[in-house]
Amino acid sequence: MNNDIYVVIEHLRGQVADISYIMLAAGRDLARETGGKLAAVLLGQNAQALAENLAADQVLYGENAALAEFTSDAYQQALAGLISENQPRAAFFGSTTIGTDVAGTLSARLNIPLVSSCSKISDGMIVSQICGGKIMAETKLADTTTLITMIPGGYKPEQGRGGPPEVKPVPVSVADLKVALNQYIEPEVADVDITKEKVLISIGRGIQTADNIELAQALADLLGGAVSASRPVVDQGWLPTSRMVGKSGQRVKPKLYLALGISGAPEHVEGMADAENIIAINIDPGAPLFDVAKYGVNVDLFDLIDPLIEAIEAAK
């Protein structure tokens, strides 16, 4: 094993994802501890130009027609070869629809540890957020290559932009694929674009029923905004996917983000942490969203909404 740190670059349809730059920032912190090089691993077809802004010491570029679009098994095969041959000290993947599929299977295939949900490298320790953001865990690098999946929060993408780095082609071999991409299906056109709203009244599981959404809608109407939601509300079919905030939904940056009954799981926070003014209303004093919000109210949302609506009406 050597002391190098790999960062597996995520890109989709010609765009490098922000998580790639975030991983490069984390990878730099770890490489400083191990004394190794920071290498970005870029896989694709005609994708070399994506290396341009990567703040890495070196880019290992694997070109193959089977890597033109992401599939879990093509990526896994390419990386299993690269990692077991070169034995880096650690390899970062996004805790994303791309990275988790690959890192999870590689851990079992190579029988090496995988640390999930890392948000930061701190004094060489891998700091993870689990249990919906209610628990932190610190893990050291193992005696073998350690795989890490990364969530945003601890670094800004700008910290991982730089370059252009040296690009070194590496051979990758891929065969007998079991997964194939048929097509991409574009998101449905939304009635409201929550990324453009100045005010979002955002509801979580605490709203309890679909009928209660009209309470949030009344607040949104009074403040000239729209209703957005956490994943469970959308998975219940109470609001369309276009209203979802977070990892799988939209990233929003409104002037006011008023969260009603949202716990603040990392997957949600990822989509709203950059809002200008976050106000969290939650009955649980330990809700992780209180660590992100500017103002918090520890009450039952159903006790607060009516007085709040009255107070706004009186003020107008």
Binding site: G104, C131, E138, N182
Partner: protein
């Protein structure tokens, strides 16, 4: 006939306050309330939707954790044909690698065409069960799945990308899919129906033998988050809080 296997596990109920064990590197299990992992519940629902749509059999398999029987009888009440429990040392501190190996050894006798797991559990630290299980079985794995149909030896799946983008993919069977969301929200079953199942069905037990946690993690420390900055908590009764909120709305210029 298509046989769909759904491995599930219990995870901490995050509504409860969580505490760290005396060892300093694990959750304190003493007062922990365990519930079925939310995404495993979606996996059960997706399996039953597939069975209703195109026939087949559904087996739900789970480690013998405290409270698991209720979860399994609930799955049976929803439409699972078989409910199975792995007996072994699943009290405290087993990791996902060990659980995936235990599932894998049980799978050999069950010969499923498709395995659906929840994409992730809230306490996953050494990766998730699904990808490990797929690899131990030599099957393909695709996660973040929100839609599955079966077409002649293949699963056609919808894989979620951020912002509502979907990748439609084909996966050769047998395969393991990590379910993010079932096509419909998990159905509700009446307690009476679950009780009826307890009388009519029984849980098949499979011995998991000794657990093998290798490839897992040595966690150095667990702790509760120490936020650098915490929200300013607004105090007072609801009326006072409402008045203060209106002031804040004015300060930031939304009223």
């Amino acid at each position: 006939m298509t046989h769909i296997l759904v491995p599930v596990k219990l995870v901490p109920d995050l509504v409860e306050e969580l505490q760290i064990a005396g060892s300093g590197n694990a959750l304190d299990m003493t007062w922990l309330r365990l519930i079925i992992s939310e995404f495993d519940d979606h996996a059960i629902e997706q399996a039953i939707i597939l069975k209703e749509r195109s026939g087949g059999e559904v087996t739900v398999i789970a480690p013998d954790q405290e409270g698991m029987d209720d979860v399994l009888f609930t799955a049976a009440a929803k439409g699972a044909d078989r409910i199975t429990k792995l007996s072994g040392d699943f009290g405290e501190g087993f990791n996902n690698h060990a659980l995936a190996r235990a599932f894998a050894s049980a799978v050999e006798g069950l010969a499923p065409d498709l395995i659906l797991t929840g994409v992730q559990g809230n306490n996953d630290l050494d990766g998730s069960v699904g990808p490990c299980l797929a690899e131990y079985l030599g099957m393909a794995y695709v996660g973040y799945v929100a839609g599955v149909s079966l077409e002649g030896g293949k699963a056609v799946i919808k894989k979620e990308y951020p912002g509502g983008l979907i990748a439609e993919m084909e996966v050769a069977l047998p395969a393991v899919l990590g379910i993010q969301a079932a096509e419909q929200p998990p159905r509700y079953v009446a307690v009476s129906k679950v009780r009826q199942m307890m009388k009519e069905t029984s849980i098949v037990e499979i011995d998991a033998g000794d657990l093998d946690p290798s490839g897992g993690l040595d966690v150095s420390r667990m702790y509760l988050p120490e936020a650098a900055e915490r929200a300013e908590m607004l105090q007072g009764n609801e009326k006072e809080v409402a008045a203060r909120l209106v002031e804040i709305f004015k300060e930031i210029g939304v009223i």
